[in-house]
């Protein structure tokens, strides 16, 4: 008896054909489309191939068939394991939702020594008593922090300028560590600061309690100081000095920087990136302005169109890839987060790229006066007089009432991308986010009208660019893959 099965055994697929698995497709350009399955795995095909595939005419012997089968776009008589694998990958992508609120932001003061016209938080310049968080408020907020079931808790100090109320930062850190002795969470701290008023005493405390420093660096001195005025006009000099000193005391990898793109930044992507390289950073987050706070009041937000920002972004991305080709390891962080979603089964902790939205269930904000907001952007909106995303106050509301409030649940439910027009059939949906706060701020609607959404248009342009780069050029693909963070 032959130990081999008859050829007919392996021809069953030819007789029975294949079944489609759920997928979406979106045009990349005039010719190509990107297809994504329910877990976000992608492939690129022309329209004729998609039509052939959907109409069950794709030959089993074709390379396209193998590609689609290996990436779970179809199943056939060989195996049904794709269904189990897709379920596992969907679950992995959404596992952070089950972890619940991990990021807790404390606005320890609204006071600030800078006068940035694009300030999103509408900082105040004096009256310490009125705009600093009290210990009583901090204690109540910390009680809420540990009500979250998340195994990992990150407490982030925001402002204004958080170092202007560093005594409270110290108080909150010590108290959180005390509470954590019985809570046993993976507890981390971060401090957002312009570093203008940093002292050795502050840095040593940050070192001793492993507090990560996040500062602002908008580019070379002339650009940074133009964007970020302060008395003395020396914001850049203070920031650089602070970064260097913080690295000496805390360690090189304990300090990061963020930039904001203003009208003055456009056309200077290379200068800004060169500054980050010169200062020894390993990457940069090329951020657009957000429509909140003083950015609206001073019309900074309207200073440029999204197309202008995309030109700036892609100039920056091109330059960063060029630097990588020359041997420098340097990444663009927004692309890095998206690439992680495209190339791994994991989701992201970045609130703006989450669906369901990360408001409240991934991040939450305790304002200086005890008001609780669904996100930092929600707090910024409140400073403009819009309290839509105010969830309660630590003095008067419980964790349960805050997390089950209509102010939180309604935008979460309504904006879920897999069930809203255009998003539900968009191939980029697995990589994107819901952003109900942005859409409420710009379109007065949690869902938003996606054809006119700046968030949607910006992201789709970036997604198309990254998929095209991954597909068309092996060297660029290798560079982009090296930016992936699992």
């Amino acid at each position: 008896m032959s130990k081999f099965k008859a050829l007919a055994t392996y021809e069953e697929t030819l007789r029975t054909g294949y079944e489609l698995l759920p997928f979406n497709f979106t045009a990349l350009d005039e010719v190509k489309y990107v297809l994504t399955n329910i877990a976000g795995q992608y492939t690129v095909l022309d329209r004729h191939s998609i039509e052939t595939f959907v109409n069950h005419r794709l030959p089993e012997t074709s390379a396209t068939y193998d590609e689609l089968k290996s990436k779970h776009f179809l199943i056939d008589a060989d195996s049904k394991v794709s269904i189990d694998l897709l379920a596992l990958k969907v679950r992995t992508k959404l596992e952070r939702v089950a972890d619940f609120t991990a990021l807790h932001m404390f606005v320890v003061s609204l006071r600030c020594d800078h006068s940035c016209p694009y300030c999103q938080v509408s900082r105040q310049s004096d009256n310490r008593g009125a705009f600093d968080m009290s210990e009583e408020t901090a204690i109540k907020a910390l009680d809420m922090v540990f009500r979250s079931p998340s195994k990992s808790i990150k407490i982030e100090f925001q402002g204004g300028e958080s170092m202007l109320n560093f005594e409270l930062v110290r108080f909150i850190t010590l108290r959180a560590e005390e509470l954590n002795r019985t809570q046993h969470r993976d507890l981390a701290f971060a401090l957002a600061t312009n570093l203008a008023v940093v002292t050795d005493d502050i840095l040593l405390f940050c070192r001793d309690h492993d507090i990560f420093i996040s500062t602002s660096l908008d580019g070379p001195a002339d650009l940074h100081n133009k964007n970020r005025p302060r008395p003395g006009g020396d914001s850049y000099e203070r920031a650089i000095q602070g970064v260097q000193h913080a690295r000496e005391l805390l360690g090189r990898d304990r300090v990061s920087a963020l930039m904001t793109t203003t009208k003055a930044s456009l056309g200077r992507a290379r200068d800004i990136i060169d500054e980050y390289v010169r200062q020894g950073f390993n990457g940069i987050f090329l951020r657009p302005l957000s429509p909140y706070g003083f950015a609206i009041k001073t019309k900074s937000y309207d200073a440029y169109e999204m197309d202008e920002w995309l030109t700036f972004y892609f100039e920056g991305l091109d330059y960063i890839i060029e630097l990588n080709r020359s041997g420098l390891r340097f990444s663009e962080y927004y692309a890095s987060m998206i690439l992680s979603k495209m190339l791994t089964p994991f989701g992201t902790s970045y609130v703006d790229l989450r669906s369901p939205a990360g408001i409240g269930i991934a991040a939450i904000v305790y304002n200086y006066n005890g008001d609780v907001y669904a996100s930092d952007e929600s707090r910024m909106l409140a400073e403009m007089g819009d309290q839509t995303f105010r969830l309660g106050n630590v003095a008067t509301d419980s964790w349960e009432s805050i997390m089950t409030s209509e102010a939180l649940l309604t935008p979460l439910e309504e904006s879920f991308a897999a069930s809203v027009p255009m998003c539900e059939q968009c191939a980029f949906e697995p990589y994107c986010g819901s952003e109900p706060v942005f859409h409420h701020a710009t379109q007065a609607d949690f869902v938003g009208h996606k054809p006119t959404s700046a968030f949607c248009n910006r992201n789709m342009a970036i997604f198309r660019r990254l998929i095209t780069d991954l597909t068309d050029n092996a060297e660029t693909r290798g560079i982009l893959q090296s930016w992936v963070r699992a």
């Binding site: 698995l21 997928f23 959907v54 189990d84 897709l86 969907v90 027009p421 255009m422 059939q425």
Partner: protein, 106 residues
């Protein structure tokens, strides 16, 4: 396809394309165009109106893109119909054993 100033009319067979397919395709271009739907016995007449001044050539290009989008929506409808059951099975499987239901064994 008939063009009148900043408006243009397309016509779709109702036998070939359900109204919902045409509406979904139109929605995608609602940043540049507004629409009037005229449903007749065997066809849907779709009047496209430019939201902002644009050349006749640009309007024709949008009309071509919209017609391609109608075809794409038709394909998407086939995929959705054929994969609805397995999609629900995948999602049910993904969310099973999470302990979110009160009487569920985790």
């Amino acid at each position: 396809m008939e063009t009148r100033g900043t408006s243009l009319e397309l016509s779709f067979s109702q036998t070939a394309f359900p109204l919902e397919t045409i509406k979904k395709a139109a929605y995608r271009y609602s940043d540049s165009l507004s629409f009037e739907f005229v449903v007749e016995s065997d066809k849907v007449r779709l009047l496209l109106h430019a939201r902002k001044p644009m050349s006749a050539g640009a309007l024709v290009d949008l009309a071509h893109a919209l017609r391609t989008e109608v075809l794409d929506q038709d394909l998407r409808a086939i995929v959705a119909r054929e994969t609805q059951a397995v999609r629900n099975a995948i999602l049910a499987y993904a969310f099973s054993g999470t302990g979110l239901q009160g009487d569920e064994q985790v």
